[in-house]
Amino acid sequence: MKVKEIVEILKAEILCEGNLEEEVKTACGSDMMSDVLAFVKDQSVLLTGLMNPQVVRTAEMMDMHCIIFVRGKKTDNSVVDLARQKDITVLATPYRMFTACGLLFSNGLRGGCDIS
């Protein structure tokens, strides 16, 4: 699916706009950054409840292009500024982690790991 479809599915607010036309296939949802860093299977979307610059750094190291902050986290400007420098799209969804992941999965996004 395209990043702009994620925006619709998750009723998301765009905090930082990268390439909304980009095609994404796999995602990862976690609040522990080393868990995210453990699987490099061309994942392009990161869902997290954490709001700090290390989330953007983690996405950067992994070449992920879209970060989604779940459950209406209050925005931290330093996070958005760093994402802008790195050309990463940042979205905020009112849904909680479980629901946000479920919605994306049922619309075709996968986990990218062996057992999906």
């Binding site: 609040d31 522990m32 950054m33 080393s34 868990d35 860093l37 453990a38 490099v40 997290t48 954490l50 700090n52 610059p53 290390q54 989330v55 750094r57 983690t58 950067e60 190291m61 992994m62 070449d63 330093s78």
Partner: protein, 143 residues
């Protein structure tokens, strides 16, 4: 001498800046047209090591040597050291306090990830003296 020799001071008191050294290395490797898979492996392994120096050792120094056939990363700190390196290398082992956990670290996956993504890795550590992690990545190898 390596083709490109880089050194970074990694401040221990500024969590928000942790990862800047790794980000810079990633950027430089990209500019050099380095193998994308090797770039990602270097970036992740160095980033995990950099974060470890910040959260466990009060900062340190990163020394990176880049050549066409290899990237060598040395991470040196004068932190508390690791009493049992073998134990620290196990997935899930962590001494990170709760405040670090709320920042998204402390899963005990950093050292195992570094081992997984690099082609060679050694950890030299002495309690009360410090820790040196030395890693090598050869482009074209692994995965």
């Amino acid at each position: 001498m390596s083709m490109l020799h880089l050194t970074y001071q990694v401040p221990g008191d500024d969590f928000t800046r942790a990862g800047e050294a790794s980000s810079d290395v990633k950027h430089k490797l990209k500019k050099l047209g380095y193998d994308p898979d090797a770039i990602r492996r270097v970036a992740i392994a160095m980033y995990e090591g950099e974060i470890n120096m910040v959260i466990h050792a009060g900062g340190g120094e990163a020394i990176v040597d880049i050549d066409p056939d290899r990237v060598e990363i040395r991470l040196e700190d004068q932190g508390p050291g690791i009493a049992d390196v073998e134990q620290a290398m196990q997935a899930g082992w962590s001494t990170a306090p709760d405040n670090v956990r709320t920042l998204g670290f402390g899963a005990g996956m950093g050292l195992p990830n570094m081992k997984k993504y690099t082609d060679e890795m050694t950890v030299d550590s002495q309690v009360g003296v410090g820790t040196t992690v030395f890693m090598k990545v050869f482009p074209g190898k692994k995965e």
